[in-house]
């Protein structure tokens, strides 16, 4: 190729397109960038409006006064959201206590123990749970779980009444039922992420443990669990984020009592449930409406914090995986 043939008379390279032909490129590139920017702007706008609309309640009661006062009295126009915050924490805590061990057991069984043939169907079945809508969980919980579990709960309450937060009269809809439903709802996501994290455990570690004479369980305990600990905590935190924000199923089975229950089998309320339930009546009362939007803001901030921690933990789990994949093998064996 001669140098002269590459340069067009205008001094422009012949391989370069004329500016007009490059216009679609420019449009696509900056159009997509603008779209991404618009999404960010939208989130920021919503957040600002949320703060603006909840201002009424926050300026009346103070941010701390609103969040940590135990007095939710619609008729008396008093809005202290502590019963809701506590209810949210109790139900999602119960969900974690029940759901995470089951989800981790499922992930371990599917990845390490079960016959290869049933691995795929088993995974698909666990994920099927994620396809059931929240309102259907609520429906099932209300008409099946609440009446069927009541005798069991009453027996638990009577037998273990020496434990804190257990005992008394079982109400039917309760923190416990809500927590149980939330546990079922978070199992698919916690189990899926745990499985992903466990897939990053280097086979060397597992084989080394087995070669040293470890039983399957000892291999799981010494090779898999320590390696994926951060990832499992991250998965649990993601589940917690889901549980905190879950609305309709909880609204149906929590009992909707705006006070702090003394027992796990008492009726209660959560931040999300109060919004869903009281919205209709709040339309005409600006302060009540503002208090509900403030509940939404507290919920939003709570999930942001939980999810940020979860993302950090999951990322750390994966970084750990990458770091040791790159490390020389003798270092691992030592």
């Amino acid at each position: 190729l001669e140098a002269g043939s590459v340069t067009a008379p205008g001094g422009r390279s012949r391989l370069e397109r004329p500016p007009r032909a490059r216009l679609p490129d420019w449009i696509l590139r900056w159009g997509l960038t603008a779209l991404a920017l618009a999404v960010l702007a939208l989130i920021a706008y919503f957040f600002i409006r949320l703060i603006g609309e909840s201002n009424d309640a926050f300026s009346r009661f103070g941010v701390f006064g609103y969040t940590f006062t135990n007095d939710w009295d619609v008729a008396g126009s008093k809005f202290g959201a502590l019963p809701l915050v506590v209810g949210t924490l109790i139900t999602s805590g119960t969900a974690l206590l029940i759901g995470v061990p089951v989800a981790v057991a499922t992930a371990l069984y599917v990845t390490e123990l079960c016959p290869r043939r049933i691995r795929a169907p088993l995974t698909a079945m666990v994920e099927l749970l994620a396809a059931v809508p929240s309102v259907v969980f609520g429906l099932w919980g209300f008409f099946v779980l609440v009446p069927k579990l009541r005798p069991v709960e009453q027996w638990l309450a009577d037998t273990f009444s020496f434990l804190p937060f257990v005992g008394g009269h079982v109400a039917g809809p309760s923190y416990f039922i809500a927590g149980l439903i939330l546990a079922i709802m978070i199992i698919p996501i916690v189990s899926a992420i745990t499985r992903e994290v466990m897939a990053t455990v280097p086979p060397d570690h597992k084989e080394a443990a087995l070669a040293l004479g470890a039983t399957r369980w000892e291999m799981i305990r010494t090779a898999i669990l320590p390696y994926s600990r951060a990832g499992i905590s991250g998965a649990a935190m993601l589940g917690l984020g889901r549980a905190i924000g879950e609305t309709i199923a909880v609204t149906i089975v929590i009992g909707n009592a705006p006070k702090i229950g003394h027992q796990i089998f008492d009726q209660g309320y959560t931040l999300a449930a109060v919004i869903a339930n009281e919205f209709g009546e709040a339309a005409s009362d600006p302060l009540h409406r503002s208090a509900l939007i403030a509940a939404g803001l507290v919920l939003f901030v709570l999930t942001l914090i939980v999810n940020a921690i979860a993302r950090y933990l999951v990322a750390r789990g994966e970084h750990g995986a990458r770091a040791s994949r790159d490390a020389p093998t003798p270092g691992v064996a030592a």
């Binding site: 099932w140 209300f142 039983t215 924000g245």
Partner: protein
């Protein structure tokens, strides 16, 4: 010649191994119990409610007499979700295209990625509140509660799901394909539209269908954006019924017939969602990527 053997596993260790395995198996079985129970009750109580009238009449709203069926709820759900998908899918794929083709590992792209992640974690009811504050309270479009506002709320919910799924799929498109097209003299935009997108299409469809399935079951954002009405309507500019909202309202009624309608509607909704998810999985299995 001595045979090297491992020392025998002591009975204690063998026992703990067996117990641990049994417990892991039991945990897995426990996770499947609710699924089986829910499917059983849905079929048991839902099929009983099904009839031709159930699908062909609107809820009557009468306390006595015939409560009517769920036609308007099905129509509303399909309309609201279709409009939501029409908004969220192009936007979500567009954002993903930006991230994969232009933003890459740049600072702005990481910020966008972070906030897309943040959006995935936002509870659906908060999206409902967003729309309530910005569109419903402001009476945008001359009415307070309308179907299209419900669509916007669902679209916000779907956007991060679509964007993240699309990003994963677009990243799977081999760079060699892009480079080959560029080397043949194709401009960047043609590479994106004619090479990258068609290659990733099955994956994009899968992500879209999963996002639609997720949105179709959401109740909370619709409660204070689209609300509940009885009649079938094709007008997205007015209040609109939907399956989840109909179920939620029927659960609260102390009437056997309404509760039975809730079960029938729940079975319908779950079947619609399962159909979408199954379809999505079939398409992803046929994809050439991954």
């Amino acid at each position: 010649v001595s045979r090297a053997t491992l020392p025998k596993v002591s009975p204690r260790r063998r026992r703990s191994d067996r117990i641990a395995r049994a417990m892991l198996g039991a945990g897995t079985a426990l996770a499947l119990v609710p699924l089986v129970l829910i499917l059983y009750y849905l079929l048991h109580k839902g099929l009983g409610a099904w009839s031709w009238d159930f699908f062909s009449t609107d809820p009557s709203g009468k306390f006595f007499g015939d409560p009517g069926g769920i036609k308007s709820a099905i129509v509303g759900t399909v309309e609201i979700v279709a409009l939501a998908a029409a908004m969220a899918v192009p936007a979500g794929i567009g954002v993903a295209l930006y991230l994969v083709e232009y933003g890459k590992a740049g600072r702005f792209a990481s910020v966008v990625r972070y906030f897309i992640d943040v959006m995935t974690g936002v509870p659906s009811i908060v999206f409902g509140l967003f729309i309530y504050i910005t569109l419903v309270l402001a009476n945008t479009g001359g009415a307070s509660f309308t179907g299209w506002k419900g669509s916007v709320a669902l679209a916000l919910l779907m956007l991060p799901i679509v964007a993240r799924a699309a990003e994963v799929v677009l990243m799977l498109v081999p760079d060699a394909l892009r480079e080959a097209a560029l080397a043949l003299g194709a401009p960047r935009w043609r590479v994106v539209l004619r090479v990258v997108l068609p290659t990733a299409l099955p994956g994009l469809i899968t992500g879209t269908l999963l996002a639609i399935a997720r949105a179709a079951g959401e109740t909370a954002p619709l409660l204070f954006t689209a609300t509940i009405v009885k009649g079938s309507t094709l007008d997205l500019g007015g209040p609109m019924n939907s399956l989840p909202a109909q179920i939620f309202s029927d659960v609260g009624q102390a009437q056997d017939r309404l509760q039975s309608r809730a079960w029938g509607a729940a079975l319908t909704l779950v079947l619609m969602i399962l159909l979408l998810t199954t379809f999505a999985r079939l398409i992803s299995r046929r994809s050439r990527l991954a």
